[in-house]
């Protein structure tokens, strides 16, 4: 048998420890990925839109404003149209976004899987998206309980969970 250049038991052990330590260090440390200079303006808009969705979703349940999950749960599933019916029945969400993102226009799309097909619906249309628009995403999970509490028309089964991707396309005016 040719046993040249084999990894010996001790060396193997050493290598395994090194790899494990590396993975542990990486997963335990706080990582910040800084964007490139050219993208600074886009990044700023993307960051602040992503913040808006996070803050909307973090909003405590017992506060006066509905949080993102509650807003989405209340949707009547009627797609918005421009310019007659820009926000559908998602006035609450629209008010929140307008408050948190002044001087910014946005569209909101909802993407979800229904009967095995991916559906993408326009929920809020504030205008045709500009050239420099950015997209941020946030996921919410709907249950039949939240939907019926909020009076939405999602039509979920008693134990069904539906994950909805909220896509926010934002651009500056």
């Amino acid at each position: 048998m040719n046993d040249k250049a084999q990894l010996h038991t001790l060396e193997g052990l050493g290598a395994a420890v090194l790899m494990t330590l590396t993975i542990l260090t990486i997963t335990q440390s706080t990582m910040i990925v800084t964007p490139q200079n050219e993208l600074a303006i886009d990044v700023h808009l993307e960051q602040i839109s992503s913040d808006a969705l996070t803050v909307l979703d973090r909003n405590p349940v017992d506060s006066d404003q509905y949080n993102l999950t509650e807003c989405i749960a209340s949707w009547d599933m009627t797609e918005a149209s421009y310019p007659d019916n820009m926000t559908g029945n998602l006035d609450e969400l629209d008010a929140g976004l307008q408050y948190l993102l002044p001087d910014t226009l946005y569209n909101v799309d909802l993407a979800y899987i229904e009967n095995g097909d991916l559906k993408v619906d326009n929920a809020i249309i504030r205008g045709p998206a500009g050239k420099n628009s950015v997209v941020t995403r946030h996921f919410v999970t709907l249950t039949n309980e939240t939907v019926s509490e909020m009076g939405g028309s999602w039509n979920l089964g008693e134990t069904e969970l539906r994950v909805v991707e909220v896509r926010l396309t934002a651009w500056e005016v």
Partner: protein, 319 residues
């Protein structure tokens, strides 16, 4: 016999050395080949972005030879990183609540000395081993004004120079601001006609907020008349302010209630409840029924929860 296990072939050694020398040569002699960003731009974008991200998404960290944790605000002498996100697990460096800002950490940030602050947040440039601190201005704002916590304006750094190029990053956060209790008209207890009575036990570290919605109207032009504490009528705006809340917007309130769905928000000065005793707060209305009789009266301290308000973190950096 010679042991020939685990040897590197000389050919390979020669090959890889040549390759490495060539690579180093290329990198050294073609400047800008591996640099990102365009000419004329500095690393200020990175610095502003990083500073804002660390403050909003990190909990901070402290440590000494024996223990460590994310509650650096309790151990300002051993702080290793400054971050403002609230945290429920002190031993893990990660947080489940980015963008939610801790009031205590924010106040402690105001006390960190300048050198440590610049060092912790990396607000300096390293040129030939000499450190140059950047100019910076870090503040929390709300409705266009600098946010106040515990009578302190939350702003650090210098005034932004007018004739210099600066880099600015804004982040949206939820700031922890005192406590809030929300009542409906049916929750409120009443002894005197048209008057809601709430028991409040002090002291508080921040102003307290009481929100009232779904009041039952009985006649024409229902109104909020006045608030009194232990029989003394309180004065607006030095003792308290009141406004109407419509979704995310606050609007001014002149006393007259137009619809039962109006949400009233009262903000009482914390100095009113300075001792640790029970205070009786009376809110007098006109043409409003409060169906729940008292005493016992409803207790603010049983109903309250932490109050979060949206605010902006603005980080501005310049050379």
């Amino acid at each position: 016999m010679m042991d020939d296990k685990g040897q590197i072939a000389v050919d390979f050694l020669l090959g890889i050395s040549l390759f490495l020398i060539a690579l180093t040569f290329t990198v050294q002699f073609i400047p800008g080949m591996f640099m990102s960003g365009s000419a004329g731009e500095s690393s200020l974008d990175y610095t502003a972005y990083r500073t804002a991200t660390v403050l909003v998404e990190d909990t901070g960290w402290w440590g000494n030879s024996t223990s460590s944790g994310t509650d650096w605000e309790e151990h300002p002498g051993n702080v290793m990183r400054i971050g403002l996100a609230v945290d429920d697990d002190l031993s893990s460096k990660l947080t489940n609540s980015p963008n939610i800002i801790s009031r205590k950490k924010t106040l402690q940030m105001m006390n960190v000395d300048k050198t440590t602050f610049i060092e912790m947040l990396g607000l300096y440039n390293n040129v030939d081993d000499t450190l140059f601190a950047y100019g910076y201005n870090i503040s929390f704002t709300q409705d266009g004004n600098v946010l106040m916590l515990n009578n302190t304006s939350i702003i650090r750094g210098q005034i932004v120079p007018e004739y210099k190029e600066t880099t600015k990053i804004t982040r949206i956060v939820l700031m922890e601001k005192g406590t809030i209790a929300s009542f409906t008209g049916d929750d409120l207890t009443s002894e005197l006609v048209n008057t809601a009575t709430i028991n409040i036990t002090g002291p508080f570290v921040e102003n307290i907020t009481i929100q009232i919605c779904d009041l039952n109207f009985t006649g024409l032009s229902p109104m909020f008349l006045n608030a009194s504490l232990d029989g003394t009528t309180l004065i607006q705006p030095s003792n308290y302010t009141v406004c109407k809340i419509d979704g995310w917007e606050k609007s001014s309130f002149n006393g007259s209630l137009s619809s039962p769905t109006d949400v009233l928000s009262f903000n009482f000065d914390k100095e009113l409840f300075s001792s640790s005793s029970e205070y009786r707060l009376d809110l007098e209305f006109r043409n409003v029924t409060l169906p729940t009789p008292g005493p016992p009266f409803i207790d603010y301290n049983d109903w309250n929860s932490t109050h979060y308000e949206p605010a902006y973190l603005v980080v501005e950096v310049w050379e």
